[in-house]
Amino acid sequence: MQIVVDKVKKEYVNGHGSTLALNGVSFEVKKGEFFCILGPSGCGKTTLLNLLAGFDNPSAGTIHIDGKVVLKPHKEYVTVFQEHSLFPWLNSFENVSFGLELNGKDKAECVTVAAKCLKQVHLEDCEKLFPCELSGGMKQRLQLARTLAVKPKIIFMDEPFAALDPLMKEELQNEILRIWREEKLTIVLVTHDISSAIMLADRIAVMSKSGTIKEIIEIKLARPRDKLTMQIGKLEKQIYEVMASK
């Protein structure tokens, strides 16, 4: 198992008392798996992703990735955020080579790798454009390119479709699936969108409002998946019922 989450709790203390965002979450993710964490807003799924990526630490329980305890961010396990995470003062090319330069790659290598990653997300003609000149979907693809440039083993995704219209969402989903296959990545994706989860995931962990995992559902359908089939409709209904149940 590549990711092992064991009885993780996360408590936030504030002036009035404390909130329990996660209350004993356990699951495992296999290498190369596409794992979705699905739940309503406020269920602690983003908290969970923050812990997985090492931006924050659990109050109790442990998270192991590749056998090591996660305590801080690691450049092999990289997060793609909802939005606004591109550096606005850098153009597309510079955004992608940001991580490469940090890791001491020379100029020539930065250029080759960045060009390859931009091509991978079909932004090869946008090298010189700044993030504010890109559409929502292009921004997310650029984030993906920036992430791919550092050759991560795992990509965490935090609601990457939240700000996109349905057409862009579907396009980005297909891109992500293609890259996941090409690069043999492990992906953990957090979303509140049932149909995205079904279209993408190998397994879906459904979370409850009280910060626990209700059920982990395996999606055995072959890819590419057609969202207009009966099977998908049934799955959607089944997951909806799990989410809505007390």
Partner: protein, 261 residues
């Protein structure tokens, strides 16, 4: 459309200024002021011409500008890194904050006696006063700029391997730059205000000194002339930095990022 902005930007302000000059002249005609203490606009203009001709004006303008720019540059050199450290490390902030809060409420003018005792006469005490003046507003702007950096940018950068100094240099500084430039503009403006006061108290040159000196000779036309010159130079400095600020903000897409998504 273009004509409208021309009217708004040039014609209307010109009308207002002309109206004020007219009222000034009118007040003199109906005897609101004792005329020996209040020259007419034309007399003031002639006064400025006289100062230019004798070379007094330019010498003193340069004296004041020199002090302001040196003091301001030194302040920027220290305030920007210090503000970045303050914003990046809570421990630095917690340790130094009370001291900073005490020092920044002391008027720079209050330092003048000490500055003269410590540095004698000449440019050094004035530069010191401007340093004190420019430092705090800029420092606070840099610090609050760092505090306003979107946490997601910091997360993304840390995730890609940026920590410590690299994080400050490659993310916090560029991300806070629009605030830093705004801070530069504000602290330069205040410096220009304070230099005149400083030169009145303890200097033998500069525009502040020129005002005081003219008053001693009861040349009120020169007093007002120099005041107007001070205002015009202040306007120019602010215009240059405002332009700089806008271009940084445009490049950093401060507005575009609001509507982009």
């Amino acid at each position: 459309m273009k004509q409208m902005t021309w009217i708004k930007k040039i014609a209307l302000p010109a009308v207002v200024i002309f109206a004020v000059l007219l009222l000034w002249q009118l007040a003199l005609l109906i005897g609101v002021f004792q005329s020996s203490f209040m020259p007419s606009p034309v007399q003031v203009l002639l006064g400025i011409a006289e100062l230019i001709q004798k070379g007094d004006l330019l010498d003193n303008v340069f004296a004041s500008l020199f002090r302001v720019f040196v003091g301001f540059a030194l302040a920027a050199l220290i305030a920007i890194p210090a503000g970045l450290l303050f914003g990046a490390y809570a421990i630095v902030k917690d340790s130094f904050n009370p001291l900073v809060q005490i020092l920044r409420t002391i008027s720079p003018i209050a330092w003048i006696p000490l500055a003269i005792l410590w540095f004698g006469i000449g440019d050094t005490p004035a530069i010191f006063i401007i340093f004190i003046t420019a430092f705090f507003p800029l420092f606070i702007a840099v610090y609050s700029g760092v505090k306003q950096v979107d946490p997601v940018l910091i997360k993304a950068a840390r995730n890609l391997g940026a920590e410590g100094r690299t994080l400050i240099r490659k993310v916090l500084f560029p991300a806070a730059l629009p605030h830093i430039v705004a801070g530069l503009r504000i602290s330069l403006g205040i410096s220009w205000v304070i230099i005149v006061a400083a030169e009145m108290v303890g200097m033998r040159s500069g525009l502040g000194y020129l005002i005081l000196d003219s008053r001693n000779f009861l040349r009120i036309d020169l007093v007002i002339g120099v005041m107007i010159v001070i205002g015009l130079i202040g306007l120019c400095m602010d215009a240059v930095l405002t332009y700089f600020e806008h271009s940084v903000k445009r490049r950093w897409a401060f507005n575009a990022s609001m509507e982009g998504y």
